[in-house]
Symmetry: D3
Subunit: 322 residues, 6 copies
Amino acid sequence: MAKQIFDYENGQDMKLALLIKGAEVRIAKNGKKFIAFTFQDPSGHITAKFWDASEDDIAQYQPGVVVLLSGKRELYQGKPQIKIYTMRLATQEEGNDPENYVEHAPESKDDMGQELNDFIFQITNANWNRVVRRLLADHKQEFLTYPAAKSNHHAFAGGLAFHTLSILRLAKSVAGQYPAVNKSLLYAGAILHDLGKTMELSSAVSTDYTMEGNMIGHIVLVDEEIVRVANDMKIDIHQEDMIMLRHMILAHHGLLEYGSPVRPELLEAQILHDLDELDAEINMLTTAYQHVDPGTFTERLFGMDNRRFYRPENGQTYPDPK
Amino acid sequence: MAKQIFDYENGQDMKLALLIKGAEVRIAKNGKKFIAFTFQDPSGHITAKFWDASEDDIAQYQPGVVVLLSGKRELYQGKPQIKIYTMRLATQEEGNDPENYVEHAPESKDDMGQELNDFIFQITNANWNRVVRRLLADHKQEFLTYPAAKSNHHAFAGGLAFHTLSILRLAKSVAGQYPAVNKSLLYAGAILHDLGKTMELSSAVSTDYTMEGNMIGHIVLVDEEIVRVANDMKIDIHQEDMIMLRHMILAHHGLLEYGSPVRPELLEAQILHDLDELDAEINMLTTAYQHVDPGTFTERLFGMDNRRFYRPENGQTYPDPK
Amino acid sequence: MAKQIFDYENGQDMKLALLIKGAEVRIAKNGKKFIAFTFQDPSGHITAKFWDASEDDIAQYQPGVVVLLSGKRELYQGKPQIKIYTMRLATQEEGNDPENYVEHAPESKDDMGQELNDFIFQITNANWNRVVRRLLADHKQEFLTYPAAKSNHHAFAGGLAFHTLSILRLAKSVAGQYPAVNKSLLYAGAILHDLGKTMELSSAVSTDYTMEGNMIGHIVLVDEEIVRVANDMKIDIHQEDMIMLRHMILAHHGLLEYGSPVRPELLEAQILHDLDELDAEINMLTTAYQHVDPGTFTERLFGMDNRRFYRPENGQTYPDPK
Amino acid sequence: MAKQIFDYENGQDMKLALLIKGAEVRIAKNGKKFIAFTFQDPSGHITAKFWDASEDDIAQYQPGVVVLLSGKRELYQGKPQIKIYTMRLATQEEGNDPENYVEHAPESKDDMGQELNDFIFQITNANWNRVVRRLLADHKQEFLTYPAAKSNHHAFAGGLAFHTLSILRLAKSVAGQYPAVNKSLLYAGAILHDLGKTMELSSAVSTDYTMEGNMIGHIVLVDEEIVRVANDMKIDIHQEDMIMLRHMILAHHGLLEYGSPVRPELLEAQILHDLDELDAEINMLTTAYQHVDPGTFTERLFGMDNRRFYRPENGQTYPDPK
Amino acid sequence: MAKQIFDYENGQDMKLALLIKGAEVRIAKNGKKFIAFTFQDPSGHITAKFWDASEDDIAQYQPGVVVLLSGKRELYQGKPQIKIYTMRLATQEEGNDPENYVEHAPESKDDMGQELNDFIFQITNANWNRVVRRLLADHKQEFLTYPAAKSNHHAFAGGLAFHTLSILRLAKSVAGQYPAVNKSLLYAGAILHDLGKTMELSSAVSTDYTMEGNMIGHIVLVDEEIVRVANDMKIDIHQEDMIMLRHMILAHHGLLEYGSPVRPELLEAQILHDLDELDAEINMLTTAYQHVDPGTFTERLFGMDNRRFYRPENGQTYPDPK
Amino acid sequence: MAKQIFDYENGQDMKLALLIKGAEVRIAKNGKKFIAFTFQDPSGHITAKFWDASEDDIAQYQPGVVVLLSGKRELYQGKPQIKIYTMRLATQEEGNDPENYVEHAPESKDDMGQELNDFIFQITNANWNRVVRRLLADHKQEFLTYPAAKSNHHAFAGGLAFHTLSILRLAKSVAGQYPAVNKSLLYAGAILHDLGKTMELSSAVSTDYTMEGNMIGHIVLVDEEIVRVANDMKIDIHQEDMIMLRHMILAHHGLLEYGSPVRPELLEAQILHDLDELDAEINMLTTAYQHVDPGTFTERLFGMDNRRFYRPENGQTYPDPK
């Protein structure tokens, strides 16, 4: 297998294929334009400056494109960057599918799709079942390839489906332990809760917030979709079961301050919120632990109220650090 | 004109027609049922207990019904109530239209409907204009008769339309003063911003929150209606103008803590929020001033962060106290 | 089986054995003392006034004592109470074991004790295992009979052990799903996290906060016990594993505002906090649902930020209302 | 008309007159002093470094002074700056009036003064009228030339008077729409509300906070002036009307957290606070919109809780971007 | 010495002189007026109802008046009240000076006045010394007789002077221990900090907030007085020392949320705030301890964030409970 | 006496002995390692870069070591640093005791130890006296040499003991002024309140937080010590006096948000919290004043909610600026 970014050391010459994750055009002291790149492969991210960029360069080196690059790994203000010698677009034969250059969920799209189907099969309310099937069908490609968030947690390709599945697995345990829980409702809500991310985020590969994402938000964007398909399928959205389903999604952030227009008022809505947080936190922490040595603290984690977490020296069961 | 509740004094016998605003069935010490009534006419509210209520009594004396009552005005724990002598349903000839017994907006439905039309005429964006017309047509009866809130402000019949119109009048002044303001957007947003109240509240006469109102909230209930009619009329809800219109409604509470899923991100959305607050506050304060004497403070006002306001002794222009 | 409090209707004569849960001595208008009782049996609570109480009455009718009572069920200000005809202490033959008159966990002490042992068996770190065994041995009786809280959640005999076990079962699912989790640490922390309740609360039967409970708090009271037994068993409390165990308990309230002197800084401490909340919330909600009819909202729940929850009309799986 | 700062492009030689807005003396690596300048003309701000500054240079090149400069426009760390070739003081003939080099309100001092007079004419309470006239007379020059704030909103020469006038125009509309409003009180409060800025800020041209401004604050500084002139004119400050006027100013920040020692307790005080915020927000947003292209978001705006606002692509009525 | 309110027991006949602290006129069920009195003597407060009150009764039995009363001590809803037999105004010979019926500071007016003078003598800045002397002279009577607050702390006659003196004594210790402290400034600020209470509260005997107190607040009311006398004595209030003195008073509540328009920005302003809080807290706690038995908790104290405090059983040095 | 860091001027050659306070190893652009030093002597801190560091250099130049250095004082980005010419370890004869290179409390260890003893002598409760004596004996060396905090206040050698003594002196004044205060309890609590800092911080010289400090916190670390020694000395920790002593320490941060697991519920606990804050604030402010000129404001102070404080121009009693 070809060497990746973090297989090279500082000062070493590099020759490798990379995905352009970000490309910002700026003006240099000499008055000419340059491109400030962020490159990516499955080993991580690195920056580089491309001097004296022509309009052609700017036009072709866009985010989402794969390039072949030779250069040298350096340190700049304590952080690694690449000094570019040469660079050109990768051809299809050389492999220019962006998907190969991003981090992926630990399970395959097919496996995740299959397991999702098993859960849908257990949604016994007909309206919920039809709405869930229809919406997954409408957004299947994005649902299986998008990250769950731009950067906080499950920020990798397939992260949205993987996060959803993790919640469903937890939901299965909880429903098994507490018989009062309406399993159909909990599953339907869990599957749809973050589906709006497929509209809020711009793409699976170089992720940003869309204008709609900023001004409507992923919570209301799912609600809109439920209203749309229910109207299409002649399901009355003013029936109790449809109000309950919509409430599951609207309330899943738990607090108004976090953007839910209503707080949970159903047992299952409260549980969905709790499991959503639990899975996101475990993902954030295990990811952070992988970047530090045993016996030390992680960086402050933005998504965990800026707390630092301790990775124990002994008796641990965490994966090895990267 | 017939005497109303507050034309009688304590200790006086009363004979008048009243609207049942609330009717709660309870059990007395003697084990029999009684009805705890709240009666209403345009002069205000008063309570009364109806002892030894039969099942027939309970069935016919429901909120929204007009009754003829003879009794005596008394004080109970410092508050006025009626001791009921006799009571029966009012006939149509005697006048049993609930509308005649509630407080009304200071302008007629026709006048308000006409002025609204003038504003709609000035919405020059075709999509906004069509959505606004269609939704007003779908909810016209409720829009012109509902209160703007259960109790906080404009809590009278027609209050929703009157509050909307007051905001539009302020909006006209603001748009006149600041040319940057998109008048069409501001008017369209103002007209729709509280339309969801017609679904959130149970009726124009004896108002409570519906289950939908509690679990979806009036902000998302309007959004659902915009999505529905836009789909019907083949207007693409993913176009910039439709996102802007939906944003106007979604953001109009200003803060996430107040139930908006997004904060204002358009000049016009910020202005709509400000004018909504301004008009509600002026209504709350002028109402409160009417209940106290010059030179004294009002009660603490829940909707104004529990502040008390001072009604000046001299040089005032406020209306007389009730 | 004998009739219990809520088998009687208002106005009916009652004859039954009851546990005194509370007994407050007050002075009547006539200058004589009376006792304001709260009685309890497994069906719930009810109040009663015992007029003209002698010093002997006051001395013998203390909380925790079982009495035989004849009287009549009445309504007072909308709430049920007993009008006492006669009352005397129950004899041992008649059954005066307080335990028989309180609500109990849905599982037996033996079953819970057995399952706890199974979990302890899986704590593979020797220090944690020894500390947990020793502390459970020292507090076994209280641990198996105390409630988990005075009133918020699991407020029944055996509630502490039952709540602990529920968390352990959730912990088992989570540890199964996320291999990074240190199962031993999570189990040890879960078992000890609320053990301080046995010192914070006054007794299993008529529960109140002790002076120690108020001024030290149950979190530090467990910590004190860990320090004590570790010193006894010559385990160095400055070793990493002991610091981690203490951190699990100290951090389990999650936020400083909730009384934890430190916030979670270990993956397992974060999970313990989340599961503790999840189980407490599910218990509060299912309990509240049992007191309302389908299609209505619960009372505002103090422990859930004063939210009301909706019990759906259809398709529900919740237990029948009491 | 002569070329201004932003008429030059990067890399071009410049020759123009500029106002020194800031001049900070620092020590270079070589141990000699240099001056870090901020220059200003009506087109905006730019920085420059003046190397090897003598004591004479430092003495004469002070903020508020106009200079003639030749140099070259460059980029430094992405921001434009001037490389100075030569520089000297401007003579009176060349035009060295600082006023000509700052951004100005869109209306002339004379027009604003005239319109203010019209409003004062409508203050019918004699005490309020006299106090307002006297204080405006005492601070006229500053009132018509100062900005309304150091940077947040209306941060240009004449901004204070222009902001005040904008509020008065809004106030006129509001008083017209709601007859309960005491117009005299609202106008008097509006005119005086920010007059303390003339003492809180150091000058019209190179604005900073004075020591008094920091330690007393502009709200109490106006109050002090009202007390002073009322005493001079033998107006009793303990009369109701004077307490009301002082309350208008003291309460105009609306919340204690924003520095008002009391919250609004008069209808007019509440309205003044609302209109003050409304006008400041509209000014902040329209200014921010002018710096971004249609179809994009503004920078995060400090004065708007760090929100970004969207400038629509279509159908807009905003002015062109600068 | 004559028997006081709390020397009588429930059921006993009483005959004593009392001060009317509150007198609210209400209407009874029979339609006639009655007066709801609160009476006071140095032993505490008690309520009573005066039935069938004539207009003459209402006119003469005002707060601040001393009456001779015979009646009986009873319990009403668990609280003591007087059943009035007869009642008339006390004559001057019988002793009708309200001062004799209120709780007093533990030191005499003369002693406090003398000690204050000693502190003023140590204010070496001439401007501060003159302003303090002049303002104390202008408000001497009120300063020595008013309480420090309506109810929170030092709520007794002379409480304002006593609280001021307690702070000065603490200030003396602090200034002795930390030589950097400007003693003159700290003393001058301490003496003036609450002087506005003499304008904010209505009287020494039956205390309420004045309209000025509500709408200006005692902090700005002192500031106004400093401005007034400084102008009179031709002291420039824009000099550094006068700004510092005013800052001491303006900032003494410490936080904007507590009504200070600026936060402390001088060492001495910070210390004054801290000592003000410390003395108020100690007064609240020792007062609360006097009402409970050793080994129990106090009521929740409003001024201490609703905390309850524990009065130890052993080894205590607190005064005996009342 | 030898010249210290801040006796040299920029551009001057230096030759002096310094303590290494921090030593971070980084990689230079050329791929070689360098050490980023922070040096310290009693005059303050300065940074320096040591290029091309060998593994031997890295091994010997550790924090806490004294070196002899020749170099040149320079400015780098506006801050002073040393350009190193030569550097080697100091020998014992040359003076390599780290203690000589750190800032010290203004009183000697012996004097502070003596005064502490005098206070302990006045603790008349035998249990408190024994616990305090024993814990001070166990931690004497650290207690007399550690700082009170890493950077906020009293951040110098001996700062912990000096801060403790300052509180005791204030406590003495307060106990003298308010006879209700239990002096023994207040003294015992004051002495122990921050003793946990000796475990929370890593050393007296180059201070950082220990793992225990992060995960248990100094408040619980003292509590653990009280439990340990009480058990050793057979003192029952469940007695009222021991609960009170532990409460003093547990509650001394005043608010849960500041890390106290319980809020103060004893008069003495409240006072201890207040005096702790008062002394820390005075230390922070007088330290900050020493770094600015009269007539200017300090930097924003993190420990004072980011406020800036004014150092007056005239009539001041503060020490001269450094």
